[in-house]
Amino acid sequence: MGEKLTHAMESHTAFEIKLFGFTIPVSDLVVTMWIIMAVMIILAIFLTRNLSLVPNKKQNIAEIIVEFINNLVKDAIGPHHWKAFAPYIGTVLLFLVLANTVSIFNIIPGGEEGFKLRPPARNINVAICLAIMSICVVIYAGIRYKGPGGWLKSFVKPTPVMLPFNILDYVIKPTSLALRLFGNILGAFIVMELIYMALPIFAPAVISLYFDLFDGILQAYVFSFLTSIYISEALE
């Protein structure tokens, strides 16, 4: 049982790209993320085709999503600068919503050893990448809207004694973002795998409503919400 669980937790090489004599292994995490990206791009093109002043059915769906993201960012960042950050935060939110709930779309019969759709954030490298992207946006926001001088000055505010703590802030924020996402997704993933092993009939369907859907969407929301809170802190 432990071996099965470890096998499900680890990332595996899905295929290898041979290029100029080098062999580049591509893991199943990357393939899963490519699938998610393809789904997002196709959905975006499909939902925004033939836009009209009087919205039809699919335009309504697109407008609800965009409105929700705009309101989330506007509430957190404030009415002045939210427009510059809404696309990034919306992209991360939609990507994470799909990425964290991807294991419920696992309808391809792949067997135990084959390729399966599993949430990519169960690997800490994916979570750290997303957190580093977020902290880069926070630094960009500080430099862009305060100027380089004003941004450097913000390190010694309110008093110069706070300098080390302000520098530590830029390390602690991405660490806690990454660990929160990774821990939650991995924890929920392990619980679900254990339930698949112990009670394979009926129970997984009910319990995955909480662990896959609710927890995944909540963590995606918390990640993008905290990112926008950090951006608004950098803008102050």
Binding site: D75, L179, R180, G183, N184, L186, G187, F225
Partner: protein, 77 residues
Amino acid sequence: MTGTSIIAIAAAIAAFTGIGAGVGISLATGKAVEAIARQPEAAGSIRTSLLLGAALAEATAIYGLVVALVLVFLKMG
């Protein structure tokens, strides 16, 4: 005692961080419910700060979980 059982006990102790996170989140939720009961029109902004506080409190439990998982899967495997 064998090494494996000591690791299991260590992982169990690491999971005790959940107590603190549970108390923290329940305190925050209780206060938020009180605040919404007193001022229902401020429910939106209370909800956002509640989510933020719950996410921060929950992070401590997650650190414990990560430590326990690392102990179990890296040391035993």
